[in-house]
Symmetry: C2
Subunit: 73 residues, 2 copies
């Protein structure tokens, strides 16, 4: 993973939603990196579920079940 | 949480990174919603750690420790 898919500005907004006043640029980048890693994990599981269901398209229900699996590990 | 902070286009790219060919619009929205919820959880924990360390700014190390806490629950 070289280029990050998530940009830092939404990370600042997410931190503000969480009650933070100030967030360092490094912290925003770290959060973007982490959310992307979690996102790819969830997407991989979702992809497996879609293949299992003989579909070529990932649907919302695949994301839901994949999230439960990734977050409960 | 009404307006989502994360947009859908990076979600499509994240799914492609995970090996998926096609992703429904609803699935991309679901992933954006989920990553935002996880992001806010991590940011809340990080905010608590920064306050505990008598800082007003969230730093990268706060995000790291908060992630371990949120993901191991």
């Amino acid at each position: 993973m070289n280029k990050l898919e998530l940009s830092v500005s939404p990370m600042h907004r997410i931190c503000k939603k969480a009650g933070a006043d100030r967030v360092s640029e490094e912290a925003a980048k770290e959060l973007a990196k982490i959310l992307e890693v979690i996102g790819v994990k969830i997407a991989k599981e979702a992809h497996d579920y879609s293949i299992h269901a003989r579909r070529k398209t990932i649907k919302a229900k695949d994301i839901e079940i994949a999230t439960r699996k990734v977050m409960e590990k």
